[in-house]
Amino acid sequence: MTLLSIDDLVVEHRSPGRPVVRAVAGASLTVGPGEVVGLVGESGCGKSTLARAVCGLNPITEGSITFDGEPVTPLGLRRRRLTGIQMVFQDPYASLNPRRRVGDQIADGLRTVRDTATSPADLLERVGLPREFAGRHPHEFSGGQRQRVAIARALAARPRLLIGDEPISALDASAQAQVARLMRDLAVESGAGLLFISHDLSVVRLIADRIVVMYLGRIVEVGDTAEVWADPRHPYTRALLGAVPKPDGLGVLPAELPGDVPDPANPPGGCRFHPRCPLVMDVCREKDPGFGPVACWLHEPK
């Protein structure tokens, strides 16, 4: 059973006087209830656009997003019925209203599901903050605490799918793993799915059941976290994992992936990774590997 399914999603950014940018160029993905999916990739690969499209914050150009059997419609001015998807944003300094008490902001979420039994303080307790903090304003919290408040606010609406768009990258290193684990525990506990977007592979490895690797608008590899980590198959996944420096004290410089991410407005033909791929073959320059779970001509399904 799937909770969220994304089929051949294409999202384009249009701005006058500029070429059309295909931020997401045909991506398919599913998230099941109680499942944690980690979406990783370099900045500019379209992972945030994908998350925003799932929430209805970005209009879809082609393809479809279905949540619980119903299509996700763009967020408009009208009252939203689709409160089953909630998002935790990257920067808690910007996503919380500085002029309102955090308790009131959490109560907004409770009101959308007409929950009168739970109080904002209960939710603060669930995310590991003292109950009395409900009367405080966001500026009285540290970054990690604010992100916990943002998580509490998202959970207040009883989501069945929680989306975290780089929820930990604005936090201190010591708070990152804690907050990530908290998100996982709370989502799994309530039976909700979690789509966790991050460029920090070590954290994704810690909390995700499945890993989805994205490159330049395409999904290049999908697999079980442990399997992908132990045996990455796509050359891009290998490069990503190889670039993570290990704190082993041996002084090994991480491997470098040559070149920069190409301009998404003008992606290379054939396989999108071919200009940077160490194992490039002739077929890669001509034909796009449009298959899964590993979109690479070296791993073509028989």
Binding site: E42, S43, D172, A173, S174, Q176, A177, A180, H199, L201, S202, V203, R205, L206, A239, L240, A243, V244, P245, K246, P247, D248, G249, L250, G251, V252, L253, P254, A255, E256, L257, D260, V261
Partner: protein
């Protein structure tokens, strides 16, 4: 030349930020400074350059060769800053001036410190851009920061820092704003430049993986004090201080090991 920090204390508004920091940077070595945010890592770096916030009270000594940077008259300190000691900041998107070309930002301090002519400065700038591996250095010279990616901008920031052939480079979280693949390139660049030019580098970072990859010596700070200092292998593999151990244990990888 070595940079010797001894008994450095900094207090701002009556609050003690640094409580006696001792560090020694040697030529051709990368000295890593780790610790949580708020532990005083960045303040240590800023103190070396005399860039502490207004109203900060400093005591102790920062010796660069024979001189104590803390007692240097402002005019001489200005010669040291950017000339002998340079800094690379965390976020290349904000540390470069958005409305000046890369060339302008690369040559301005060179012409001031090294008294170079326009053409000479330009030639050196192009050479530096090549050294930090910016593709097409000639064309890059006339471009603006927004025309480069994050990794390229950080390389340019490093080129600017290196322009006057400093002896000491302070890199404050130089790769935190970058992707892992780009980070790998910048770390390789830093290590290579350190070996090639005999720079003394102070690498401030909270990422112990980065530390392990490039630092020769590692110091760990907590609440304004250096709690542990030693060769990389020793600090990261057999941490003596409980705080270092807790830092290592809090890494996402720790529980999977």
């Amino acid at each position: 030349m070595t940079l010797d920090i001894g008994g450095l204390t900094v207090s701002i508004g009556g609050k003690e930020i640094l409580r006696g920091v001792d560090l020694r940077l040697e030529a051709g070595r990368v000295h890593g400074l780790a610790g949580e945010s708020g532990s005083g890592k960045t303040m240590t770096g800023l103190a070396v350059l005399g860039l502490l916030p207004h109203g900060a009270r400093v005591s102790g000594a920062i010796r660069l060769g024979e001189r104590d940077l803390l007692t240097l008259p402002p005019k001489e300190l200005n010669r040291v800053r950017g000339g002998e000691v340079a800094m690379v900041f965390q976020d290349p998107a904000t540390s470069l001036h958005p409305m000046l070309t890369i060339g302008k930002q690369l040559t301005e301090h060179m012409r001031h410190h090294l008294k170079l002519g326009r053409a000479e400065a330009r030639a050196r700038a192009v050479e530096l851009l090549g050294k930090v591996r910016i593709p097409g250095p000639e064309e890059a010279y006339g471009r603006f920061p927004h025309q480069f990616s994050g990794g390229m901008r950080q390389r340019i920031a490093i080129a600017i820092a290196l322009a006057c052939s400093p002896k000491v480079l302070i890199a404050d979280e130089p790769t935190t704003a970058l992707d892992v693949t780009v980070q790998a390139g910048v770390l390789r660049l830093l290590r290579g430049l350190c070996d090639e030019l005999g720079l003394a580098v102070l690498l401030v970072t909270h990422d112990l993986g980065v530390m392990s990859a490039v630092a020769d010596e590692v110091s760990v700070m907590k609440d304004g004090l250096v709690v542990e200092s030693g060769p990389r292998g020793q600090v990261l593999r057999e941490p003596a201080h409980a705080y270092t151990r807790s830092l290592l244990d809090s890494l996402p990888d720790a529980e999977l090991r």
